[in-house]
């Protein structure tokens, strides 16, 4: 696979901060940007959203459907694409779980941030192939010239 996801440093740091702040719970949020082509996409904006999973949030996350609808609306208003969703894995690897696979939607990129002892240590991105299996896409930090 030659899938790539470009993300700017600020968005990546914001995501890591969110993951560390919510530790030992899982955090989640939306990623916006653009689909360049079949293989390459850009993330330029991330927006944290509440993990509304009832009970233990240390190994599950859930996004309120109304928050999802707001996310689509935000993308439309900002002329951005809703590229995908990020979430954290407290004290677990940045690899999709069975539950992640069960709930995954096509097209979306799923970034997973591994948080070990409260520190974000790995960031990997995944998306479904045509056989509905997760394949990794390379996360590339984008240098933004000011």
């Amino acid at each position: 696979m030659s899938w790539k996801l470009h993300i700017d440093k600020e968005s990546l740091e914001k995501m890591h901060n969110h993951a560390e702040q919510d530790y030992p719970d899982e955090c989640c949020g939306f990623m916006y940007g653009s689909f360049d082509d079949e293989n390459v996409r850009q993330v330029t904006v991330i927006r944290p959203v509440s993990n509304v999973k009832p009970g233990d949030k240390s190994d599950r996350f859930q996004i309120d459907p109304l928050d999802y609808r707001k996310a689509e609306q935000f993308a439309l208003l900002q002329d951005l694409d809703l590229v995908g969703v990020y979430h954290s894995h407290p004290d677990h690897p940045a690899e999709p779980s069975e539950h992640d696979l069960k709930q995954a939607m096509p097209v979306f990129s799923y970034i997973i941030v591994s948080v070990q002892d409260g520190v974000a240590t790995a960031t990997r991105s995944w998306r479904l192939d045509d056989e509905k299996e997760f394949q990794e896409e390379k996360v590339l930090e984008k240098i933004v010239n000011s």
Binding site: R60, Q62, I63, Y68, V85, E98, D100, Q103, M105, P106
Partner: protein, 90 residues
């Protein structure tokens, strides 16, 4: 008539269309028309028994349509049906 809003991850199956106008009188008829117009969408929207998949929710306005039994809900030209992914994981 009803307008169906297609979420980003399913637009791959609707030629990138964000919306679909269904000439139907119920929610179920509207969704049937949509999946007839875009057959590849059906697999991602419905399970083998024809029920809405667990990771997808159907809303009219802010009200969730729990299952297709409730799909008999009538629609008119002002009705907006939203297909909403139930985003979750572990």
């Amino acid at each position: 008539m009803a307008k169906i809003v297609i979420p980003t991850p399913l637009r791959k199956f609707t030629d990138q269309q964000r919306e679909y106008e269904a000439d139907a009188s119920t929610v179920k008829e509207s969704l049937d028309q949509l999946t007839e117009a875009y057959p590849d969408l059906a697999e991602n929207l419905l399970d083998d028994d024809g029920n809405i998949r667990s990771y997808v929710r159907i809303y009219i306005g802010d009200d969730e349509i729990g299952d297709l039994e409730n799909g008999a809900t009538e629609v008119d030209e002002d009705t907006v049906i939203s297909i909403v992914p139930a985003i979750a994981g572990g």
